[in-house]
């Protein structure tokens, strides 16, 4: 061995943990990107001052701890109007098309605490499509979904989201859509009305509806290529003919099979349209 450094968590130990979590808690992380997953697990071990064996023991014997573990390893960092240029592109290139529908169903897959769902709700409101649109937000983390349903955000967060909003090209300001009390901002109830948050695991769950638009941004980065392809299949089958698929700006459809099934609408923002077959 060249390395003198004692590894905190070896690749083999990480695999052992993945097996254990699948067996005891039913979540399958085997096709998650390893570098990122490993970093998250090490972070937990360091915060909790746990060795690999402590961690294994707690994961098996403490149900409450698993939720904490899940919160840590599924990255729940999100923003409203993250990548403002994306929302600008949706407004210019996708909304004119969506507005021709009687009913518009949107799916934010991997929605975490709901920031993207509410950003889309605000966008639909600003473009006059709110009353005929419905937005589904799904995630594997039930605690995050509870947060999302509340639609309450700290003022500190709203301030940083407001900067994104300014760049998105929408009129007015972000706070027009919130009721502010003390140090928290609550999304207006009419915006919440057309949203639904529920549990869905992209790795193991099936199609549940047909959508005009699916947004799954900065979720694929946590998956290995084979799993990405499997989920693309799920999205393809969940889209209405000519429906839109939105991915994160640094993510891309790498599979040749699916490159043929989607037309690129905006290559910088990674917005695709399902080709009718």
């Amino acid at each position: 061995m060249m390395s003198t450094e004692q590894e905190i968590l070896s690749a083999q130990q990480l695999d052992e943990l993945i097996d254990l979590i699948k067996k005891f808690h039913g979540f399958d992380f085997s096709c998650y990107s390893k570098a990122s997953l490993k970093r998250r697990v090490i972070r937990i071990m360091q915060n909790k001052k746990q060795t690999f064996y402590d961690l294994k023991h707690t994961l098996v014997n403490n149900q409450h701890f698993f939720q904490e573990f899940l919160d840590e390893i599924t990255v729940n960092v999100t923003e409203m109007f993250r990548d403002p240029s994306f929302y600008k592109a949706i407004n210019n290139q996708v909304i004119p098309y969506l507005s021709t529908y009687q009913h518009i169903k949107l799916w934010s897959a991997g929605c975490s605490s709901g920031e993207e769902v509410y950003s889309l709700a605000i966008l639909m409101n600003e473009t006059g499509l709110r009353k005929k649109s419905f937005i589904y937000g799904t995630d594997i983390n039930t605690e995050m979904l509870k947060e999302a349903r509340k639609g309450i955000f700290s003022l500190k967060k709203i301030k940083s989201y407001a900067e994104n909003y300014q760049y998105s090209g929408l009129k007015g300001s972000l706070t027009d859509h919130f009721t502010i009390m003390y140090d928290a901002a609550t999304i207006h109830s009419e915006l919440k009305h057309n949203t639904l948050f529920s549990v869905h695991n992209l790795v193991s769950d099936a199609i549940f509806n047909e959508f005009q638009l699916i947004s799954c941004r900065n979720v694929f980065i946590y998956f290995e290529s084979e799993l990405q392809e499997k989920i693309l299949e799920l999205f393809y089958n969940s889209l209405a003919p000519l429906g839109f698929l939105c991915m994160g700006s640094k993510e891309t459809i790498r599979s040749d099979k699916f490159k043929k099934k989607f037309k690129v609408i905006n290559s910088k923002e990674n917005i695709y349209q399902k080709i009718a077959t």
Partner: protein, 195 residues
């Protein structure tokens, strides 16, 4: 400090070059990119701290002045030889053991995303001794821990001389924890990369 044979030999056999820089490093990195020979025969990975909604045209500017193909990193992209990669703003860049990039939007490290530590630490595991890493000017201590991990894994590690760095904190933090094999002035860095 003159360039000894050890440093030159380690640089020559490196398959990857990692460069981390923050405040005060932009011009230096630009000149490094500009001066690479067309037959560098290594992959170069550059992490520069950038603001999240500040869509600078770094890639464009760099690409126009480089003899080697240069691109912004996308997720799951396979690292190719003789290519310069720039870490995108608002993501961490990690390196998988199969030699591809993986992005991550988790919390900022030292108020930075991209964080130099995150990339350096994953590179240490993925590349082991097969790389050279340089930490340049910057106003915080991102990159120091990552550089140490690279050094522990047998990489050649270099810190810019804090005395000539526009912002000395970053290289200084690395030197203080003994993460740098060599402390070089920018002229010496240019000289080494020409070998």
């Amino acid at each position: 400090m003159p360039l000894d044979n050890n440093i030159i030999a380690h640089w020559k056999k490196s398959e990857f070059l990692l460069i981390g820089g923050s405040a005060g490093s932009f011009k230096l990195i630009f000149n490094i990119v500009k001066n690479f020979n067309a037959d560098l025969d290594k992959a170069v990975i550059i992490i520069i701290h950038r603001k999240r909604n500040f869509f600078s045209e770094i890639e464009k500017l760099f690409a126009e002045n480089s003899r080697i193909s240069l691109k912004e990193i996308t997720d799951k992209e396979v690292i190719r030889n003789n290519t310069i990669y720039i870490a995108p703003a608002n993501y961490h860049t990690l390196i998988e053991k199969n030699g591809s990039f993986a992005l991550d939007v988790s919390e900022a490290v030292w108020y930075s995303r991209p964080s130099i530590d995150v990339t350096f630490e994953s590179a240490a595991e993925a590349f082991k001794g097969r790389c050279t890493a340089i930490l340049l000017s910057g106003a915080n201590q991102d990159g120091a821990a990552g550089l140490l991990k690279l050094r522990d894994n047998g990489c050649l590690t270099i810190a810019q001389n804090p005395e000539e760095a526009e912002m000395p904190q970053m290289p200084l933090a690395a030197i203080e924890i003994n993460a740098a094999d060599y402390i070089l002035n920018s002229e010496e860095i240019f000289g080494l990369l020409q070998k």
